[in-house]
């Protein structure tokens, strides 16, 4: 088991950001879905040892991050973390930024650190931008640079908070390719349901600070089976409807009238239904 949360909860005063949650994270890519304010970022920050839980216990690679300082440091040696927003220091180059983060990750040997920096730069397709000042990079390139820092040292627990924000479709494909090859557990918070469908072995849906669903993508899709329709009209009582590019109306939930066909649900459909139920 790479990471566990045991009744881990977080409150800010009277506001409960994450209710007591128990989860076991093993090897593979795990998608974390949920609306804004559901507690996704809080959970990721607690796992990344950035935020202390109000109660409960969190372990990473067997080390109790809520315990002694030494255990927390050991856990950090196994974590790669991409916050939701990364603001870069003034004047640093792409390689200089990664070099600094590599030092913070205890890469003290100069030659191996420089090699690792070049490796992660190449992974995110920024090898030819290594000497470019970060301020001169585009938004997508900066995001990829931020992802690169999380990949330093091939961590056994990779925590990525909305990594695909600002990436174009090609770059998102590239990122999927990188993440699918990561050795340990990869926990991704995202609003891009297609990324979850394409990449994740497991999906966790959070809402209002609690886990509403935990299972495989197939399990999630099964919850929407027979509940998504497409036709000339919307279903009665649908929770969401929209006109597709073909001119037909897609309905999630509701009762279908004659002539309206059932269609295969997507992760987004299943997610919308789950949200409605919760």
């Amino acid at each position: 088991m790479i990471a566990t949360l045991t009744d881990a909860a977080k409150s800010y005063g009277r506001t409960c950001a994450l209710r007591p949650t128990t989860l076991h994270l093993d090897t593979g890519v795990i998608g974390l879905l949920g609306p804004n304010g559901a507690g996704k970022t809080t959970m990721l920050r607690m796992l990344a040892t950035v935020l202390a839980p109000t109660s409960g216990r969190i372990t990473v690679a067997g080390y109790d991050v809520t315990g002694a300082y030494g255990e927390r440091v050991e856990a950090r040696r196994r974590i790669g973390y991409l916050p939701q927003e990364v603001v870069f220091p003034r004047g640093m180059t792409a390689a200089g930024f990664l070099d600094y983060i590599a030092v913070l990750k205890e890469w003290r040997n100069t030659a191996s650190r420089h090699d690792e920096v070049q490796r992660v730069l190449a992974l995110v397709d920024l090898a030819d931008r290594s000497t470019t000042k970060v301020r001169a990079l585009s938004g997508g390139q900066r995001r990829r640079l931020a992802i690169a820092q999380a990949l330093i040292g091939s961590p056994s627990l990779l925590i990525l908070d909305e990594p695909t924000t600002g990436l174009d479709p090609e770059q998102r494909m590239g990122l999927r390719n990188i993440l699918s090859k990561q050795p340990g557990a990869v926990l991704i918070s995202t609003h891009q349901t297609e990324d979850v469908a394409a990449l994740c072995d497991r999906v966790i849906v959070l809402d209002d600070g609690a886990v509403r669903f935990d299972g495989t993508v197939a399990d999630l899709l099964a919850t929407a089976d027979g509940l998504v329709h497409q036709g000339a009209e919307a279903t009665v009582g649908a929770i969401q409807t929209w006109r597709t590019g073909t001119g037909l109306i897609r309905s999630v939930g509701g009762e279908a009238a004659a002539g309206i066909e059932r269609v295969t649900p997507t992760v987004e459909d299943a997610y919308l239904l789950l949200r409605q139920q919760s």
Binding site: V73, V87, D99, E106, W107, R108
Partner: protein, 268 residues
């Protein structure tokens, strides 16, 4: 060609073990001999490896001269990277020297308010210089909080690198101000205490917020002491003992806070 570069010579050439004339002879031979040109990549490596090495070298330029000197004097390369991230220490040192000059210039021209002006400004100069050393990377606190390198080590390294310039600059300049003799060294202990307090404050606040809070607090404290007519006595044994206790207390607070569960920025 009557001869070709033998294996043993290739290996010495590739490892850089040949002397100058030997290396030049091999290179001169390589220009003429197509057989050995083909052999070269086997021993020396292809152009890809060479370009990777060149690229790595270009991507990681040498640090600026103060850090290069520090490196020659024994500073670890990784520690050099930590200091280079502080704008190569240019801003902290500029604050230290500029602040020292401003502090003594103001004190020298304040007449009967000289002591008050000097005590208001001088302990804050090293503190502001240290905060400037943290300012450049302050925006990475969330990201840095998830990394294993000791916060205490980073804090002490940056503080030491800044104080090495700030303290001598202020001390030397203060010694030049006429009539300030009694207070020339009095600022030192409060300054160390305030600096340690600032390092603790960085756990919750941004650098400029810490600077504002501590500068405001210190100003109020000095004005209060002055109002009681005790400012002239802060250089005495009991005054210095209080400042020493303050410095040690904030230092211990910093040490314990750097090991706590909650890291910088988490309370926001």
């Amino acid at each position: 060609m009557t001869w070709h570069v033998p294996r043993e010579l290739w290996e010495r050439f590739a490892s850089g073990a040949l002397d100058g004339p030997g290396q030049a002879a091999v290179e001169a031979h390589l220009v003429e001999c197509s057989d050995c040109q083909r052999q070269a990549s086997r021993f020396v490596g292809g152009s890809e490896r060479l370009w990777t090495a060149v690229h790595t070298e270009i991507s990681h330029p040498r640090p600026r001269w103060p850090l290069r000197w520090a490196h020659y004097l024994g500073l670890d390369d990784a520690d050099t990277v930590i200091l280079a991230a502080c704008d190569n220490l240019r801003l902290p040192w500029a604050v230290a020297i500029g602040g020292a000059l401003a502090s003594v210039s103001v004190a020298a021209n304040l007449g009967r308010f000289q002591d008050l002006g000097f005590m208001l400004m001088s302990p804050l100069i090293p503190l502001l210089a240290v905060l400037a050393a943290f300012d450049a990377t302050d925006i990475l606190r969330e990201l840095a909080a998830a990394t294993p390198l000791s916060r205490l080590r980073i804090g002490l390294l940056r503080t030491l690198a800044t104080l090495l310039v700030a303290l001598p600059a202020l001390s030397c300049l203060a010694a030049l101000v006429p009539g300030l003799h009694a207070l020339t060294w009095v600022w030192l202990l409060p300054s160390l205490g305030l600096t340690a307090g600032a390092l603790v404050g960085l756990r919750w606040l941004r650098t400029w917020q810490v600077a504002a809070v501590i500068a405001g607090g210190w100003t109020v404290a000095v004005l209060a002491i002055d109002a009681t007519g005790q400012l002239g006595h802060v250089g005495g044994g009991s005054g210095q003992a209080i400042f020493a206790a303050f410095a040690v207390g904030t230092g211990i607070w910093y040490w314990t806070s750097s090991r706590s569960t909650a890291q910088a920025g988490v309370t926001r």
